[in-house]
């Protein structure tokens, strides 16, 4: 019996929140900036952390939140206050998540290429190595390379410039470019030595 007494109160609270949100959405539809700010305060941070989980970049997650809310503001005329804002927000955010995910993977593809060159993946490392930490480690190691090695590595792997052309640009011989490249990969390999990467193994499955 007591359950029946509690339930209506919860229902009532939920309704109250829904009514408050409905009012906010109607105000937004009429161009009320304050209502827009309130909705942002309610959902902006949550969307940011959701996007960050998938995009793994603060800049991208911020950019996404900006685009999504800007779109909500621009399309405020078409807003239906009777539908759930949470669901509407997701509908818009989903497209941007796909778009940003694809874009950032294209831009960061060279990280994976460099890792593949520096580490021989076995079944074990393929499944048990914390790849996110590995990516972060590689990024740090690249930043720490001597500037000439870093410049040549990025030209070759990030921008895909042929060795001959890098040589021409820098006014050095193709052989020297290759040596710098080998040296850079060797430095990365050393930085990712066996002991160093064993720290990154997961032990949860064993």
């Amino acid at each position: 019996m007591s359950c029946k007494l509690i339930n209506p109160t919860i229902e009532f609270l939920r309704d109250k929140n829904e009514i408050a949100e409905k009012n906010l959405l109607s105000a937004l539809k009429n161009g009320d900036v304050k209502a827009f700010d309130q909705l942002f305060t309610e959902y902006g941070k949550r969307l940011y952390h959701f996007a960050y989980g998938y995009l793994k970049s603060r800049e991208d997650a911020e950019g996404l939140v900006q685009e999504v809310f800007l779109k909500i503001w621009k399309n405020r005329d078409n807003l239906n206050p009777d539908l759930s804002f949470k669901a509407y927000l997701f509908k818009i955010a989903y497209h941007y998540i796909l778009e940003f995910f694809e874009k950032s993977n294209r831009e960061k593809a060279y990280h994976h290429l460099i890792i593949e060159e520096a580490i021989v993946f076995t079944d074990e490392t393929n499944e048990r190595l914390n790849y996110q930490m590995l990516l972060q480690k590689v990024e740090i190691l690249i930043q720490k390379l001597p500037s000439r090695q870093k410049e040549i590595l990025l030209k070759r792997k990030k921008e895909g410039i042929p060795i001959r052309e890098i040589a021409e640009q820098l006014g050095i011989s193709p052989k020297t470019v290759e040596n710098h490249l080998t040296e850079a990969i060797k430095n990365l390999k050393n930085g990712l030595g066996k002991e160093d990467i064993s720290v990154l193994l997961f032990f949860l499955f064993f």
């Binding site: 941070k45 952390h49 911020e62």
Partner: protein
Amino acid sequence: MDFNPEILYRFFKGEYSRKDFLTIKSVFEKPELKEELKTLLQNHWSDFNNEPLPKGNVDHILRKIHHQIQPEDNQVKSNRFITAFQRIAAILIIPLILTFLAVFYFQTKSPTVEVAFAEIQCPMGVRTKFVLPDGTTGFLNSGSTLEYPVIFTNGRNVTLKGEAYFDVKHDEDHPFTVNTQNLTTRVLGTQFNVIAYENENSEEIILKEGKVEVYSNRGEKLEILQPNQKLVLNTQTRQYNKNQVEAYQYVSWTEGKLVFRNESMQQVANRLGRWYNAEIEIRDPELLKYAFRATFIDEPIEEVLKLLAKTAPLNYKEQIRETTKDNTYAKRKFTVSLDRKRLDAF
């Protein structure tokens, strides 16, 4: 789809293997899995709404959004403001203001000291070094104009059209401000580069050393820049972004170097045009997707174009120079077009 949602959650939390990553990547990239992925993410989103969030706030994102929606918003407001009542009030108050102004004007006819302004104009194809009255030095790039008061009385304010590099003399009591069409940059003493050409739809501030504050022309504070950061404002959408850059690339023009770092064909054409006082026309829109990376020192324009043609499938041709009415030659003009025969080689 034989895809375990657990992988998605592992990825989300940042505890994933390389195998997990490759699976996620292929799921995100396959159009046929789009609907299923959407359902998965949708469920995740509704669960995520009940989870506690870390500390911190995202107010700065809201500020950025406000900056973008404000111009439109102001319009809406001003339309609504003019109610019938206000119209009547305005009609009543106009004669009052006019009378007041007239009285004020006749009473203050005594001579006032006017602040004199000086202007440095840098012609096309040339770079100019300047020294301002307070000891600030810098360079003005091709086709730019810098206006400054002859005596720095109330603060140190200069106005720039085009591109300039400033090495500001440190003076904590008198901030140095650079006004461009859309931005105001405020500094105490630093080295930085400003790009604000009127015919391009972006303005850029690049900081080499020290600290600068960037404001919009409406006085809102946008960002504080640290060394090696760049702020880009898109003057069309009013969207702005802060990125990490290598500042030396942006100031190398002061040493006579022409540096392109991943710059689009359009940017390259604009910069070459200003640098050499020439006109460069891009014939094929397909060329716009190419980006360039190069450094030139003291090369004639033909040599630069020749080298660019080696790194992208393009041809260039110099047009016959027209003579103007007074029998002098007009600007040199080059056309750049797509070389379809070499398209496969790139």
